[in-house]
């Protein structure tokens, strides 16, 4: 955009006003083009805007990642990617809607570790099967999960944390953002590894849960890096470990679970792009290629890394890798959730 002139006033170039108008015009055109729906050949895909369903509220990590990648895809594919937030039932409402959508490549969904893996064990009457009802396109970015605690929680580091939790489990209160959320499933996995069963206190989303943690009303929780970094840097909460194999540049002083002796705790909420079953292969290939390019783009990477998310390597960006991930994750979470038993 413009530049700061020597007297400190922000001097916009004429192009800034134009780019503003262009954005607004683009948005209006994008919506107006819904009125025109010509027949299309698959090789011309996409010929009209594509709807990307996001199973969670706008502003959350999955939504932000979808918007960042979607923004790039809009430009590289030449058609607007319209984000539609369909909230409800831990993301399963959106996934069911995506499953039932026409498999023409104009409806996609950003699924994640909860909607396309843990949901199988959490919802006995799940209306879809993550492995068979969707075509995998590519993994997007993942948000690492951290072990967090209230400011005056006694343990000073991860080793003390493990010992303290094991000794005092029934006196501790663990917060989570609701059954099926990332904070719920990853902390269940942590409890499974530590073989403890603290009291789990449910909240309606990470906002209230984080609020309770900052206020000291609960003892610990597992939350995604995006929500945790501002509080950690502000000194309002404690952090013990991160669930990725390597340390994260946003929090270089936080050890990994592997370093502190819990290599089994792999906690990174992966997000991935899916299409309904039956979407034609040429369209899937085109989308995959576009996503692979998006995750290599400078601006996209910068914005994703600012969030603390981890960008997958090229080998993981194939449809087959995603299909394998879904399968292994379904198994993994089934074990963890069954072991946790019925919720108290």
């Amino acid at each position: 955009m413009g530049h700061n002139s020597s007297n400190g006033r922000y001097k916009a170039k004429g192009g800034d006003l134009m780019s503003l108008f262009r954005f607004i015009a683009g948005a209006i055109a994008g919506v107006a083009s819904f009125a025109v729906q010509p027949a299309f050949a698959q090789s011309d895909y996409p010929t009209r805007p594509v709807t990307l369903i996001v199973p969670f509220a706008a502003g959350g990590p999955t939504d932000v990642i979808s918007r960042i990648v979607g923004d790039y895809l809009s430009r590289s594919l030449g058609q607007q990617i319209i984000i539609e937030n369909v909230v409800g039932a831990g993301g399963t409402t959106a996934s069911t809607r995506a499953k039932n959508a026409a498999p023409d490549g104009y409806t996609l969904i950003t699924g994640h570790m909860g909607t396309h893996a843990a949901s199988v064990a959490l919802y006995p009457n799940l209306a879809y099967n993550p492995s068979t009802d969707f075509e995998p396109i590519s993994i997007l970015a993942g948000t690492p999960v951290l072990i967090l605690a209230k400011k005056d929680f006694p343990p000073k580091d991860a080793k003390e944390f493990v010992a303290y939790v094991k000794a005092n489990a029934d006196k501790l209160n663990m917060a989570h953002a609701g059954v099926g959320s990332v904070s719920y499933t990853t902390c269940l996995a942590l409890n499974h590894i530590l073989k403890v069963k603290p009291v789990t206190v449910p909240f309606n989303g990470t906002g209230p849960a984080m609020n309770a943690l900052v206020g000291g009303q609960v003892d610990y929780m597992c939350d995604q890096i995006v929500n945790a970094v501002p509080q950690i840097n502000g000194g309002t909460i404690k952090v013990y470990a991160i669930g990725t194999p390597e340390r994260n540049p946003a929090l270089p002083n936080v050890p990994t679970a592997k370093e502190v002796g819990m290599p089994e705790w792999e906690a990174s909420a992966w997000n991935a792009l899916f299409a309904p079953k039956g979407t034609p292969k040429p369209i899937l290939d085109k989308l995959n290629a576009a996503v692979v390019k998006a995750l290599d783009d400078e601006t996209v990477r910068k914005r994703l890394l600012e969030l603390g998310s981890e960008i997958p390597t090229k080998e993981r960006r194939t449809p087959q890798a995603l299909a394998d991930l879904v399968k292994s994750e379904v198994t993994r979470w089934s074990i963890v959730i069954k072991a946790a038993g019925p919720s108290n």
Partner: protein, 514 residues
């Protein structure tokens, strides 16, 4: 003090920053942030007027457009939409008895009655003036007391929230203008209905009948539209053509009279105080603030029977409260980085997309963003008054439209609005069902407002009760041992006794007479 002034000066400097656009040989200075503020306020007002479409949906829809804008400008615009919607919501409440926003439900009680008496103009004007005053005061509060107020909010744990909700329920009892027993029945019905959905702890569906759309419960807007909007239309159509028109008497003047202003001023002051305090508590929010303000007005009034029949305090108090709450709800966001409600969560998202990480350090690390937003709140409020006061005449003339043309438009707008919340036709069907329920309620002299308050409070009460019990390991005394919680419960008990006293006194008199 000096710091505060310096910071506010910084903020206003950011808002009134001039951006120079090169148009040919001239560099034209345009205060872009003011333009964004105006755009946000306009869009917000429109959204508030349209029933159903709420600020959450709008901000979500407009997020992509803000990608290309500078961060401060984008946030100023989104904030403008939020409190613009609060203003606009009261317009439809007063004119056609349909709350445009959840926070305007209470305004329908007296506001619409005033409209029927030809006093829609004063009602709308007082709503605008009260909201402006509340906005100014709460902006100063946000600026001056942001940090200390946050630390008070942090002391509110589940036990305190539960006690606050109990207090809120007692408010609902006082809200009723007719039979007390019926009001209590309505509150309980609202509480029961709010239980539909998923259990918070186990995720199991309750009263969902296997319908997936019900697994997150019934939406507030859906119920409000059905019970207020659709039911009202059915009832009006049933009436004779003459009494069907909204206006029963001539329109007498567009601006509030001296007497109006005199009566409304204390209400505005009280509403502002209540709204500012309640708005800070995450989750409680503007809805409860407006109900609380209405109840307080009714309690302190020398003639409480006027309420529900066109008392101007019943419009001034709640409107000030909900605008004050809307502003102070920014405090947890700006000081802690924790969004207290869905709209603020969207703002967090918008900030994140622009590379700003909201958190406790925004105040120190990004002072121009922080103070710029605070200054823009004041400018936004000013703009809203400037936009809305002249429009009062336009809105009032809408009331003269023959009902046979008015009600189909209302139906269409309501349906579009309800559909747009979740892109779900099921919601519209539910609203229609509640329309039938609402019609039955009207015919049998039940009031919907207490039911709606019960509906809002139900989940909050239940969740916080269970959380408090979980943390206290089943120890019920926790509600009395924690000081804030104990204080709230005692106040609730006191209010309940006060409300029952007239009943007891009447009984005693009857006994004596015999």
């Amino acid at each position: 003090m000096y710091d505060l002034l310096a910071n506010l000066a910084l903020g206003f400097g950011v808002v009134f920053q001039f951006t120079y656009f090169d148009l040919g040989p001239f560099a034209v200075p345009i205060p872009m942030n003011v333009v964004f503020c105006l755009m946000g306020a306009l869009v917000g007002t429109l959204i508030g007027v349209l029933p159903g479409v709420g600020s959450v949906a709008t901000i979500a829809m407009l997020l992509p457009i803000t990608f290309g804008l500078p961060p401060v400008g984008a946030l100023i615009m989104l904030a403008g939409i939020y409190y613009g919607a609060q203003y606009g919501g009261s317009t439809t409440s007063i004119l056609v008895n349909i709350p445009g926003e959840a926070t305007s439900v209470v305004t329908t009680l007296d506001g619409h009655q005033m409209a029927r008496q030809g006093r829609a103009g004063p009602a709308l004007a007082i709503a605008a003036i009260g909201s402006f005053f509340a906005g100014c005061v709460s902006t100063v509060l946000v600026a001056a007391l942001g940090a200390p107020l946050t630390s008070i909010a942090l002391k509110f744990g589940p036990a305190e929230y539960f006690s606050l909700m109990v207090l809120g329920l007692i408010f609902a009892v006082v809200l009723a203008k007719g039979s007390l027993i019926k009001a209590i029945g309505m509150i309980l019905a609202g509480l029961l209905m709010s239980m539909v959905g998923s259990d918070l702890e186990s995720g199991v569906g309750r009263m969902t009948f296997g319908i997936p759309e019900l697994s997150d419960g019934i939406g507030f807007v859906v119920v409000a539209m059905g019970v207020f909007g659709f039911a009202e239309i059915v009832r009006n159509l049933e009436a004779s053509p003459e009494s069907r028109e909204v206006l029963h008497t001539k329109i007498t003047g567009l601006m509030p009279t001296r007497a109006d202003l005199k009566a409304a001023t204390p209400a505005i002051l009280r509403g502002t105080t209540i709204g500012s305090i309640i708005g800070i508590l995450p989750g409680a929010g503007a809805v409860i603030a407006s109900f609380a303000a209405y109840t307080v007005e009714k309690r302190v009034s020398k003639h409480p029977e006027r309420f529900g029949r066109g008392a101007i305090e019943g419009v001034a108090g709640p409107e000030s409260a909900n605008n004050a709450a809307a502003q102070t709800s920014f405090i947890p966001l700006l000081t802690l980085g924790i969004p207290p409600n869905a709209v603020m969560a969207l703002m967090v998202g918008a900030m994140t997309i622009h590379g700003i990480v909201p958190g406790p350090q925004v105040m120190t690390k990004q002072p121009d963003l922080f103070w710029g937003m605070i200054a823009s709140m004041w400018v936004g409020n000013l703009m809203l008054v400037v936009i809305n006061l002249p429009l009062v005449g336009v809105w009032v003339s809408l009331l003269r439209v023959p009902y046979r043309l008015l009600y189909p438009s209302i139906l269409v707008f309501c349906s579009i609005g309800i559909y747009s919340i979740n892109n779900s036709p099921f919601d519209v069907i539910i609203a229609a069902a509640f329309g039938v329920v609402g019609y039955w309620l009207i015919k049998h002299d039940f009031e919907p407002a207490p039911m709606l308050l019960g509906f809002v409070l139900g989940p909050l009460m239940e969740e916080n009760l269970r959380r408090a019990m979980l943390i206290a390991r089943g120890d019920v005394t926790v509600f009395m041992t924690r000081p804030i919680s104990a204080g709230l419960l005692l106040t609730a008990a006191f209010l309940l006794v006060l409300a029952m006293l007239p009943m007891l006194r009447k009984r005693r008199e009857e006994v004596f007479v015999e």
